[in-house]
């Protein structure tokens, strides 16, 4: 990773300023992402929402903040990939719901564990109606993770359709998992497993 960065830095230095690629320090997409992340952090750090009794309230607030910025329908569509077009509108609707719930359950813990980490925005790459916002998380232990948000314009707002953590695209990760299940079994099996996963999440602790 460091090596790539060094290469990238050297490459940047060699380029005349006018020819530098569209990696700006911040623009509208970055501002919108930053606003959403900041809002989420306020909720996460709010001592009033910390007690276990407030969990539901805290999660409701987080959900509201994130749903405004993340386009889960688009994520689900992309995650299903080529199989999306083979499904009926009803199936697609059901899939979006299952996928969103899966994400919500799978990431709530991770998101809630981030409270004292420092987030820096390292740049953005603008390409017409698409933009990639690059950020880094610095943990209190000194570890560094890159998190890039892939966004596109939808109804005048920049909406996130993929999150790339340490060069691994979440959509692609799900796309290959879903494809594997569909190819080895069937779409129905995938839906069954998603529902099973959901039941696993919502069932009370044994």
């Amino acid at each position: 990773m460091k090596r790539y960065l060094t290469v990238a830095t050297i490459a940047l230095m060699l380029l005349p300023i006018g020819l530098r690629p569209g990696l700006a320090a911040g623009g509208v997409p970055s501002d919108q992402i930053r606003a959403t992340v900041d809002k989420a952090l306020v909720v996460l750090r709010d001592p009033k929402l910390k007690p276990a009794a407030k969990t539901k309230e805290r999660r409701d607030q987080l959900r509201q903040i994130l749903f405004a910025r993340f386009d889960f329908g688009e994520m689900a569509r992309r995650a299903l990939g080529a199989n999306w077009r083979r499904r009926t509108p009803q199936e697609q609707e059901e899939f979006v719901r299952l996928f969103t719930e899966l994400l919500e359950h799978a990431y709530t813990d991770t998101i809630e564990s981030y409270t004292d980490e420092k987030i820096v925005y390292v740049g953005e790459r603008l390409d017409g109606n698409y933009a990639e916002v690059k950020s880094k998380i610095l943990t209190s232990k000194g570890q560094e993770f890159s998190i890039d948000y892939k966004t596109q314009v939808a109804a005048g707002e920049w909406k996130v359709y993929d999150v790339v953590v340490e060069n691994i695209s979440m959509v692609n990760n799900f796309r290959s998992q879903f494809n594997r299940v569909i190819n080895n079994a069937s779409y129905e099996e995938l839906v069954r497993r998603l529902k099973e996963k959901q039941a696993e999440f919502t069932s009370p602790k044994k």
């Binding site: 490459a11 690629p21 992309r78 077009r85 813990d109 691994i168 299940v181 602790k205």
Partner: protein, 145 residues
């Protein structure tokens, strides 16, 4: 003897033509943060089937830009994802293209927007950050209190 030479010449031309045929199809571009280890001529595959090859590698700003020559019958949706993958741990690199859901397609000369650079510790991190559907997660059971 003469017939032999003619045959050889014919063969050479045929082979040459075949090579020329290989230059049919169309080119799309893709930018990667890194394509470490990828070489000219490495295959591009969809579902394990070769559909094209790497035609050029260059630097575009701070990123690597590759041109992929695709066979003419191949259609790419505009949300396909191109990743640089290796066969096995130290195997040859190739470009894996996973088909997308979009109704729009990438025109000749167009760009694959979604790309993934070679993973360093993909599987590990993939499971940590991406969630693994295929195995039970004990971590998640704790939280539904």
């Amino acid at each position: 003897m003469l017939a032999g030479i003619i045959c050889l010449g014919y063969l050479a031309i045929r082979l040459g033509k075949l090579e020329l045929f290989g230059n049919g199809g169309y080119v799309v571009y893709a930018d990667f943060a890194s394509v470490a280890g990828l070489k000219l001529g490495d295959p591009a595959e969809i579902a394990g089937v070769k559909v094209g090859k790497v035609e050029s590698l260059s630097l575009a700003g701070d990123r690597a830009r590759i041109a992929i020559r695709l066979e003419p019958q191949v259609v790419l949706q505009d949300d396909v994802i191109a990743s640089v993958r290796a066969r096995g741990l130290i195997g040859d690199k190739f470009i894996l293209i996973t088909p997308g859901a979009s109704d729009k397609t990438i025109a000749p000369g167009g760009k694959i927007r979604e790309t993934e650079s070679p993973p360093d510790i993909t599987d590990l991190i993939g499971k940590v950050v991406g969630g693994d559907l295929t195995s039970k997660t004990d971590k998640t059971e704790k939280k539904s209190e």
